[in-house]
């Protein structure tokens, strides 16, 4: 048995003395031969998630097919002192399921069944590896659906959604994963099964559900989730509005909300983004516009008619230069198709792109866009912008070519500067993609030493040995100090107790 010092906030952990050989022997007794991968060639598909800039090969990949195997694997890893990185469909955008070179990658895609769907209680009990869209497909005959719709919903798993607290284009009105999950069943590193939340609307004790949802696999391995199902709106219509200045589009967003309207979706694209997608989807975007807003209403047909009239009036008052209301479902889907194709379109017009995910108060939108335009010149890189404008969540897409020396580094610096400004404007470094490994250093900008210590203590409360998804989401204090830059955080020098190297 390996002695474990336990999870520490100070330094990134070292797992080099984990009992790897004996663990692999033990795992081969738990899993069928094809469910335990150690051949480097077969490990290759697991080396990264949706953020392919960060790659590592794991020690091995385990593919359990039921909860009992998950429990046995965790107990074995705990005993051996070997870390575990859980993974769903691998669509994440923050390297949250990038393997640990001395750890086991735990792929949960075989636990993919929808166990139970109750249309009267409006809930579905699903295994962690079930796909987001599969739930809505099964619920559709009952007039119900699962509301959070991340752009990867055709592939992403509910377990991954829980790990990241995923959103989508409709979360302003319908909430994130957090607001749509009732219960999570998970296995702790000690092999205990705990149920968090319930099929009632609350549970005794601390409300641990918000801690677990969005915890990026650091607290436990989720095996089963109960999601809330929402009645499908009878009707939906989207308004596409053009603006000759980005600032005016930003003000129109604030005006819609101030008028007492919560749109089902409120999205913005700048000229660069519209120009990038139009050749591929032919959505009919106004390419002369500096910015386009998509503003959707859903509900009963009467409700939609009333709300669209109110939205239209606000957008016109806010200086929209052109305004089109979808006349039918096909047109509505076409207007949305461009927005939803923004990421792949970026991939078509540029060899590589880097997607950012900061959230800022909506009033800072103009300042952020002006600053991004200046950064394009500073770093010599193009950036196209799509926003979940209604909730201030920005997805600037920095276009670069990884084969050109220095471009990736310039891109990362560009991205880090956007995140720094997001924090300075009163926002956050990640609205929905998670911190993962990608933004772990930027966490040092958003949180103080004391706050990071609390995060580590929360981690330690669930995972005392610190074996679950280490070196993700929460930076060690040493890492923050080593970043070298002497950040001034809320007027205080950070990490004064640590030596600068």
């Amino acid at each position: 048995m390996v002695s474990l010092t336990g999870h520490s906030p100070d330094r990134d952990p070292d797992f080099s003395d984990g009992a790897k050989a004996s663990l692999l022997r033990e795992l081969s007794g738990i899993l069928a031969p094809e469910a335990l991968i150690t051949d480097p060639e077969l490990l290759r598909p697991y080396e990264c998630d949706g953020l392919s800039a960060y790659r590592r090969l794991p020690l091995a990949v385990a593919l359990p097919e039921d909860e009992a195997q998950v429990v046995a694997i965790l107990v074995a890893c705990h005993r051996a002192g070997v870390p575990i990185v859980p993974r769903g469909a691998g669509t994440g955008l923050s390297a949250g399921s990038m393997p640990h070179p001395q750890g086991l990658l735990l792929s949960l895609t075989k636990l993919n069944r929808i166990l139970h769907l109750d249309p009267v209680a409006r809930l579905a009990v699903v295994q962690t590896g079930a796909r987001n869209l599969a739930i809505s497909e099964l619920a559709a005959p009952h007039g119900l659906y699962y509301a959070p719709d991340p752009s990867s919903q055709i592939a992403c798993t509910i377990g991954g959604n829980v790990a990241e607290n995923s959103g989508g284009v409709h979360c302003l009105k319908y909430g994130l994963t957090m607001q749509n999950v009732l219960r999570v069943r998970m296995v702790t590193i000690e092999g205990d099964i705990v149920e968090i939340g319930s099929h009632a609307l609350d549970a005794p004790g601390y409300d641990l559900l918000p801690l677990v949802v969005g915890s990026e696999g650091l607290l436990g391995v989720v095996t089963e989730v109960t999601v809330r199902l929402t009645p499908k709106p009878q009707a939906a219509q989207v308004i596409m509005a053009s603006f000759d200045e980005v600032r005016k589009a930003g003000e129109a967003v604030a005006a819609v909300i101030a008028a007492g309207i919560i749109p089902a979706g409120l999205e913005m694209m700048d000229q660069g983004a519209a120009a990038a997608v139009e050749p591929f989807v032919h959505a009919g975007y106004d390419l002369k516009a500096a910015a386009i807003l998509l503003c959707e209403s859903d509900g009963t047909p009467e409700e939609v008619a009333e709300e669209v009239d109110r939205m239209r009036a606000v957008l016109e008052r806010s200086g929209a230069t052109d305004l089109r209301v979808s006349r039918n479902e096909a047109e509505r889907l076409r207007f949305w198709a461009g927005r939803k194709a923004a990421f792949p379109s970026a991939g078509r017009i540029s060899p590589d792109y880097y997607c950012m995910d900061g959230t800022i108060p909506k009033k800072g939108l103009g300042e952020m866009l002006t600053a991004i335009a200046a950064m394009e010149t500073k770093y010599g890189l193009r950036c196209i912008n799509v926003f979940h404008a209604g909730d201030g969540n920005l997805h600037p897409l920095i276009l670069y070519d990884a084969n050109v020396a220095g471009e990736l580094e310039r891109t990362e610096a560009f991205g880090a500067e956007i995140l720094r400004l997001s924090v300075a404007l009163g926002g956050t470094i990640t609205g929905e993609h998670g911190v993962g490994f990608e933004k772990i250093n930027s966490m040092c900008e958003q949180f103080s030493t004391d706050e990071l210590k609390v995060f580590h203590a929360v981690k330690g409360a669930f995972d005392p040995p610190g074996l679950l998804n280490p070196v993700k989401a929460i930076p060690s204090l040493h890492r923050c100090a080593e970043m070298g830059r002497m950040h001034v955080h809320r007027g205080e020098l950070k990490f004064p107790e640590l030596e600068r190297l």
């Binding site: 918000p210 108060p361 926002g427």
Partner: protein, 346 residues
């Protein structure tokens, strides 16, 4: 009180009983420790109607927040109870109690966006923020909702607000309990603007809210009888001033799946939240009620009255209890905040 004064009290390491307006002194485990008054630490810090966010200090009375929001046509859609008018924002978050709209719009915790707290070492910490979408770090601010002040001194809260619905109407139906439960669940599964329901004494009451046209058409679809003094009915449930809550008999709250059949053992019950919240009165044997709730997939709370020392909330299974103890010591290593208020020994 100033932050320095709070810190001095905390660093003295004697158990503290944190108190805002004192409107919920009746709730939770026995009151122990010296009172730490937070009511003076008050005021709205920022309010941006177009951001749908308000930030206020913990001691600010809910009534003051509601008034400021109403000027801009907005409200706290989670409808926190004021219990006599003294309730503060900090107390509302600490208790985590949500109003009649819980089943449709979400819980108080869903509306919490960020908090500033002082932990058990006297450190001021900020979690979450003022934006709707934020997944940086663990969501500590929502963990504080319903923690009954046991994790830290809540100093400031940012929360999401919403526009007051344009139109509202409430409908009444004479129905037995089973039929009412069935309809509550079926209507919630249809795209109807139902925002609250209640059933008591053979009367189902349904609140509709939203766009003018949606409320009008739903009234036509559902039928029933229009309730003229509707606001008073829902306020009576939220504030527990409804006749059902009068008198000294202990008040129990059963939180169960909404489709749970009528609990025949309970002669007199008031149902809310589309069937998910059931109130009853009387000196029930805790074990009996807890088993009943647990069999249904929920839990029972001794909400008000009776012997608080005998346990208010349902006990936790061992692995969860361990996590609770470790979390408590992460925030409050010396065990000074509201000891025993949420769970014995915590």
């Amino acid at each position: 009180m100033s932050l320095d004064a709070f810190r001095d009290r905390i660093l003295a390491r004697a158990p503290l009983r944190v108190r805002g307006g004192g409107s919920k002194d009746f709730y939770g485990g026995p009151l122990t420790g010296d009172v730490l008054e937070v009511g003076d630490y008050r005021g709205i810090v920022s309010y941006e109607p177009s951001e749908l966010v308000m930030t206020a200090r913990a001691g600010t009375p809910l009534a003051e927040l509601e008034a400021a929001l109403a000027v801009c046509g907005q409200w706290m859609a989670f409808e926190p109870p004021g219990f006599g008018g003294a309730a503060t924002l900090g107390g509302a978050v600490a208790s985590g109690l949500s109003g009649p709209g819980r089943a449709s719009c979400g819980a108080l915790r869903d509306f919490v966006l960020g908090v500033k707290i002082m932990d058990g070492e006297g450190r001021v910490l900020t979690f979450g923020g003022q934006v709707m979408k934020n997944v940086a770090g663990f969501d500590v601010s929502r963990l504080l909702a319903g923690s009954l002040g046991t994790l830290g001194l809540i100093l400031e809260v940012s929360f999401k607000v919403l526009p007051i619905p344009v139109a509202q109407a409430s409908l009444r139906f004479q129905l037995p309990q089973d039929r009412a439960l069935d309809l509550m669940n079926r209507w919630a599964g249809r795209p109807l603007p139902v925002t609250a329901t209640s059933w008591e004494d053979q009367v189902l009451t349904v609140r509709l809210a939203g766009a003018e046209a949606a409320v009008r058409s739903a009234c036509g679809t559902l039928g029933g009888e229009r309730l003229p003094e509707a606001a008073a009915h829902w306020a009576g449930l939220k504030e527990q001033s409804h006749a059902f809550f009068a008198g000294e008999a202990p008040l129990w709250r059963l939180s169960v799946p909404s489709t749970t059949a009528s609990l025949t053992l309970l002669e007199r019950t008031l149902i809310e939240w589309g069937g998910a919240q059931r109130w009853l009165r009387g000196d029930w044997e805790p074990v009996q009620l807890r088993e009943l709730a647990q069999r249904a997939g929920g839990h029972a709370t001794r909400f008000r009255g009776g012997d608080r020392a005998a346990g208010v909330f349902a006990p936790l299974p061992a692995p969860l209890a361990d996590i609770h103890r470790r979390l408590k010591s992460a925030f409050d290593p010396h065990g000074i905040f509201n000891p025993g208020r949420l769970l014995p020994g915590l």
